[in-house]
């Protein structure tokens, strides 16, 4: 089957310079002998110039507090610097070997990341793909699908979720119609985490919008060329659409994974900050929050945060590295 990947198209396109030609307008090529050297210097200067706001923010606002929290993770800081003691690796030791809630929260968080993040992404991509078919009333659908995400961390979510998943809630009302006598989903330790996962999928608006923006940015010329090659609709989706938006897939994948590990607000609101019932929704960051703000053990919480950072960094690096095999950039560079 004569299917061509997006990457092959880009390669093929370059010599022809169809898009570029239009902008360049056949301009003259004035190359100076020392061009290679000045180009590098110019790019470096420009690079740091463009980067300067971020650099300023990084060093001025972000880096110091981050390092500060790292330093605090080796102390017993609990809100008073005058009473702070250096405790070495004690926080890390207690975390891994003593804290009775720690490994439970790791388990809950891993389950959540493994199950709900892929589900949410697949759902978001499916809906975005359907919405990208140029259908009527696209704007209305997009808004309706996005509204759940707009509610954000509003306390109203807690009320809504009990209204849906409670013993006398909406889900059981629907199940009752077909003769199933449902129990409380939100009050049962076996299903409470599931309702939080559904809540995560329910608020799929942000990745959906990003997928949609990516889909809108796929150059139509790629489809035209593929159509000429005789590729069917499904083949075009697999071999053109997906590779073309692969940088966006990578982005959503990484951000959703990081977001999954850091999931906090929804479960905080729904469980009233307890992580109940019976600790079944005690997420890592919820435990961290309790240790920091209920118990004022900021040093310990910082240690928890840095342990999490190491895990997230490893996972992210692995996903980035895997991108070498499946992410295709329009700029032709494989990174």
């Amino acid at each position: 089957m004569a299917v061509t990947t997006a990457r092959a198209h880009q390669r093929r396109r370059r010599p022809a310079g169809s898009g570029a030609g239009a902008v360049a307008g056949g301009g003259s090529h004035q190359r100076r002998p020392d061009q290679g050297w000045t180009e590098t210097r110019r790019a470096t200067l420009a690079g740091y110039l463009f980067l300067s706001p971020w650099l300023l923010g990084f060093f001025g606002i972000t880096a110091l507090p981050m390092l500060g929290s790292l330093a605090l993770s080796f102390t017993n800081f609990s809100g008073s610097f005058s009473r702070m003691e250096w405790v070495g690796l004690d926080n890390y030791r207690i975390m891994f070997t003593v804290d009775p809630a720690y490994w439970g929260s790791v388990r809950v968080t891993l389950l959540y990341v493994l199950l709900s993040v892929p589900a949410m992404l697949v759902f978001a991509l499916t809906v975005a793909t359907l919405l990208n078919k140029g259908i009527r009333a696209l704007g209305i659908y997009r808004t309706v699908f996005y509204i759940p995400s707009l509610l954000g961390s509003s306390v109203a979510i807690a009320v809504l979720w009990r209204f849906v998943w409670g013993e006398s809630g909406l889900v059981n009302a629907v199940l009752g119609v077909v003769g199933i006598d449902g129990r409380s989903w939100i009050g049962n330790p076996d299903t409470a985490l599931f309702t939080i996962m559904v809540l995560n999928v329910w608020t799929f608006g942000s990745p959906m919008i990003i997928f949609l923006a990516g889909l809108r940015q796929v150059p139509t010329e790629l489809y035209e060329a593929a159509a000429l090659d005789g590729a069917g609709r499904r083949a075009r989706y697999w071999y053109i659409t997906l590779p073309s938006i692969s940088p966006v897939v990578l982005f959503n994948g990484i951000l959703a994974t990081i977001g999954g590990f850091q999931a906090f607000t929804q479960v905080y609101v729904v469980s009233g900050g307890t992580g109940g019932p019976a600790g079944s929704t005690l997420f890592y960051t919820l435990l961290l929050y309790q240790r920091a703000f209920t118990e004022l053990r900021f040093g310990y919480a910082s240690a928890m945060a840095w342990a999490l950072l190491v895990v997230i960094a490893a996972v992210t690096a692995a996903v980035f590295a895997s991108g070498r095999f499946w992410v295709h950039y329009g700029d032709g560079e494989e990174r």
């Binding site: 110091l64 507090p65 390092l67 500060g68 790292l70 330093a71 605090l72 080796f74 102390t75 800081f77 609990s78 809100g79 008073s80 610097f81 005058s82 009473r83 702070m84 003691e85 250096w86 405790v87 207690i94 009775p100 807690a158 009990r162 409670g166 013993e167 129990r183 409380s184 939100i186 009050g187 049962n188 330790p189 409470a192 469980s271 009233g272 900050g273 307890t274 992580g275 109940g276 019932p277 019976a278 600790g279 005690l282 309790q290 240790r291 703000f293 209920t294 118990e295 004022l296 053990r297 900021f298």
Partner: protein, 448 residues
């Protein structure tokens, strides 16, 4: 003051404690911010600072906050030259914010404290000792029963917090509903085991309602149980109750679930994090429960909306033993620059009957005896409030006291609920859960 200066100023503490501080402070790069906040001696009236605005922070829902604001406005009216900045927010938001502000020595001048939370701020040197201001009469606490003031005295000998509102936890009964079911109300002299026995006997006559809301996950009610057994939540550096007491508590409530006198586990868990106004008692699901006296009116509002009865307060099921009460208090922060105004405000708030009539006990019962008596005598005060005041007087007369929780124990509230839920869902045996919780109490008290 320089860092070294601060170290030198407090020779009593071992120097080792400070070894890490400069390192971390340098890393944070904020040595200046990290310093300040000296624990001095309790100030007296003639040397009070009086600079800058008076900042006041408290917590509550919108209605309660509006009422407190009204009282603050009266004080502002009496002090037209004083700039007052108020920072009301929710209960959770208040403590989150205070903990960050305390780290930077940037607390509001007068932060609201609470008997379960204040020790951490007192022990960390964030609050100003007030006994000097009490002794010279700047803050007049003579109208408040001495034992109430004294129970605020920290282990270090200082008083940092002045109560402005008292609440207590007791049993709540839906008497009209019990009566219409033809069931006799439980005896107020019961302990929890007596209540459960009553519930099991009454349940067959109650139809869809449950006799009793499970208290298995409530550390407050467990404390009442411990008191009824002659024990308490905390002893000096250890749990104040025996393992047997906790195991008996778990088994008591497991038996209640089994007999159908309290709702099944999922329902109990679903209602665990719900505001009082939506609790099982408030929606008519249970006919007897326990709650704070200040929340009984929230239950009543919901019950009224559905015509499901009325709630009356009874003593906590301590089996006749003296029960503990809680207090909302005002404190003055160590970094306050207008101590004169702060002290004057506290003095006004605790003694103003005008304020008390505006608050209508939304922030707790007035601790000053004269104010409470004025409310008892007034025709403008609802009967339910008068009953609560009368019951409080009864508790005090029987030897009740304000229970100040040790530092580090706030998390136990949630941990107790989790332990019980694990028992309730059959994940942990009562024996093992009791062991685990006692370990958690000891860990919390050790300051780990």
């Amino acid at each position: 003051m320089s860092y070294a200066g601060r170290v030198a100023a407090r020779p009593s503490r071992p120097r080792r404690r400070y070894a890490a501080a400069p390192v971390a402070a340098l890393a944070v790069g904020l040595v200046v911010a990290a310093c300040g906040g000296d624990e001095g001696d309790a100030p007296g009236g003639d040397e009070l600072s009086a600079e800058g605005p008076l900042t006041i922070a408290w917590y509550g829902s919108d209605a309660r906050n509006a009422a407190v604001q009204e009282v603050v406005d009266i004080f502002g009216g009496q002090n037209p030259d004083l700039v007052i900045e108020t920072q009301p927010t929710t209960f959770d938001g208040h403590w989150d914010r205070l903990s960050v502000q305390a780290s930077a020595n940037n607390l509001p001048c007068v932060p609201a404290m609470q008997s379960r939370y204040q020790t951490r701020y007192e022990d960390r040197g964030s609050l100003m000792p007030l006994e000097g201001l009490i002794e010279d009469g700047t803050i007049d606490v003579s109208g408040i029963p001495e034992e109430v003031v004294e129970s605020n005295r920290n282990a270090d000998g200082h008083i940092y917090s002045i109560p402005y509102g008292i609440w207590y936890e007791g049993a709540v009964l839906n008497l009209p509903a019990l009566e219409s079911a033809g069931v006799e109300a439980p005896d107020a002299g019961n302990d929890w085991s007596g209540y459960v026995d009553w519930a099991i006997a009454a349940q067959p006559d109650l139809g869809d309602s449950f006799a009793l809301a499970s208290q298995g996950g409530s550390i407050t009610q467990f404390q009442m149980w411990a008191l009824s057994q002659g024990e308490d939540l905390f002893a000096d550096d250890a749990a104040g109750f025996s393992k047997e007491t906790l195991v008996a508590w778990y088994e008591l409530w497991l038996g209640a679930i089994e007999s159908g006198a309290t709702p099944p586990p999922e329902i109990a868990a679903e209602f665990a994090g719900v505001p009082t106004s939506e609790s099982m008692m408030a929606v008519g699901l249970t006919l007897v429960s326990a709650t704070g006296d200040n929340n009984a009116s929230d239950m009543q509002i919901t019950l009224d909306q559905n015509g499901l009865g009325a709630v009356s307060m009874a003593l906590a099921p301590t089996g006749g033993k003296p029960q503990v009460v809680g207090a909302n208090s005002w404190a003055i922060s160590e970094n306050c620059t207008n101590v004169a105004a702060a002290a004057e405000f506290i003095n006004f708030f605790i003694s103003s009957s005008e304020g008390a009539f505006i608050l209508q006990t939304q922030t707790g019962l007035p601790p000053a005896t004269a104010v409470a008596e004025e409310m008892l005598a007034s025709a403008d005060v609802a009967d339910s409030i008068k009953e609560r005041i009368a019951l409080y007087n009864e508790i005090l007369a029987a030897g009740g006291y304000v229970d100040i929780w040790p530092d580090g124990t706030q998390a136990l509230v949630g941990q107790f609920t989790t332990s019980w839920e694990e028992v309730m869902f059959g994940q942990t045996a009562p024996d093992a859960a009791a062991d685990a919780f006692i370990t958690q109490v000891e860990t919390a008290l050790s300051g780990f």
